[in-house]
Assembly symmetry: C2
């Protein structure tokens, strides 16, 4: 997100539904926030190479909840990313160090609406 | 969120899928942030009274994107909330004043997974 020239649009520009959304909500521990941040940025670059990945929206309240939503064309794309070695390793490290709690919701987007100021 | 005794758990505690998620991603303007904040807190209390509402996860990166996810039992609950007069009025004011851009995704959650540190 720090590299303006490389930064994706926010909110993500997406095709017409149906597509899939993976909602990831997490409460961090106090352990190794820099390591988590570096890993999150690395994963955010890697996921863009996954066939079927459409975009991502993410926000983090300082000292509180983080919510990220990754959009995929289909469940096959989600499975590719779920099984990606770097992602698997990060999830393991996350459970060991970075997350107090988290939840993942895999959902099929049926309707979408976008507003942009003129 | 400021009232600890009244604050919902984060991430939201939810039943087994299927249920629905409404993902709302927004980029604010610089206009009237206090008014927006007050309205957002008011809506966050109102939505808890809507039949079918299950919970909410929200995060906001300072100066950047806000992502909130409201969970509902079914589409009927989402429609009740979509048509709530206070919500309709807030959306109109949002398009006039508070939002540069936003997107809404209505999605059916098919799988979910939760982690909590012991």
């Amino acid at each position: 997100m720090s590299d303006q020239t490389d930064a994706p649009a926010s909110p993500a520009c997406l095709p017409e539904p149906p597509y899939y959304a993976v909602v990831f909500t997490s409460v961090p521990t106090d352990t190794d926030p820099d390591g988590y941040q570096r890993t999150a940025e690395h994963l955010s670059r890697l996921v863009r190479e996954v066939p079927g990945f459409l975009g991502e929206d993410a926000a983090r309240t300082p000292g509180g909840l983080a919510v990220s939503v990754a959009y995929f064309r289909d469940l096959a794309g989600i499975e590719r990313w779920r099984d990606h070695p770097a992602h698997l390793a990060a999830k393991r490290r996350g459970r060991e160090r970075w997350f107090e709690r988290y939840a993942i919701h895999v959902a099929r987007v049926e309707h979408a609406h976008v507003f942009a100021r003129e």
